[in-house]
Amino acid sequence: MFNLMLKKSLLPFVFLFPALSGLSQGYDIHLSLKPFANSQVYLGYHYGKIKAVADSITLEGRIVKDRKDLFNLSTPFLGHPKQEEIEIKRSDIVKMSNYGPAHHDYNALYFTLTGLHALHVIGGACVIFYLWAFGAKMWEADPERFTNRVEVSGLFWHFVDLVWIFLFPVLYLL
């Protein structure tokens, strides 16, 4: 699924936007960008300004303004619409990786779920290690308390396992 998401996000270098502001009144904006090799392009619309976000410094960008003219004689049936070209100022292009959780919903969820789970696994492993290495002395002194500790840490450990039983297929297989 993760790979699929990556492939999907590589594909659409042309984004379609609804008519939004002064710049695009009555137009749809298609952004066609020629990114360098594998660089990703992410276009966000923010406070009336076009913001193109890319993870490559070699991004060349320009916006092709498409007029949605249904009665354009040169394009009777869904042909190529009339185009105007607009340069995007280099300062308007924000360079950053769009894989960061702040710009990528899937990665935000993915790293929250797996990272939080990893913290619980590490915590559980620490508890089990402690019981095995240092806590076992208690087996002689107070066996009932010790078995209860094993029981409780076991419950925690298996609950973490329970979570992974659902996370694994959802994140990696579906």
Binding site: Y45, F159, L174
Partner: protein, 109 residues
């Protein structure tokens, strides 16, 4: 549980260990099944999701039932589990309920 632990004989412990090993083997088989099932092309993706979640639920039953001793628990524990299940379903339900709940004229990118 701790109240029977003193009277447990060696055979008893061995049978417990055997049971846990059996559950472990079942969980491994379940994992293999899940991976295998994810490669089957069902008529729709929803069936894939359903199959994966059904297998996961069976594995979850094994873990909760045997590793967490839920198949042989006191009544109170089931009561607390019932509460947990109720609130879990509630949380999921509220999330799903809110999924289509956006202010008018929300623009989706």
């Amino acid at each position: 549980m701790s109240d029977q632990s003193h009277s447990e004989s060696h055979d008893h412990v061995a049978s417990h260990v055997r049971r846990y090993l059996l559950v472990f083997v079942a969980l491994v088989i379940g994992t293999i099944l899940t991976v295998w099932a994810s490669y089957i092309r069902f008529p729709s993706r929803e069936i894939n999701i359903a199959v994966a979640l059904v297998i996961a639920s069976c594995k979850a039953f094994l873990v909760a039932g045997f590793f967490m001793h839920l198949v042989s628990e006191k009544k109170m524990i089931y009561g607390i589990l019932g509460f947990t299940a109720f609130f879990f379903v509630g949380l999921m339900g509220l999330t799903l309920w809110s999924m289509g709940d956006f202010p008018l004229n929300t623009i989706f990118h």
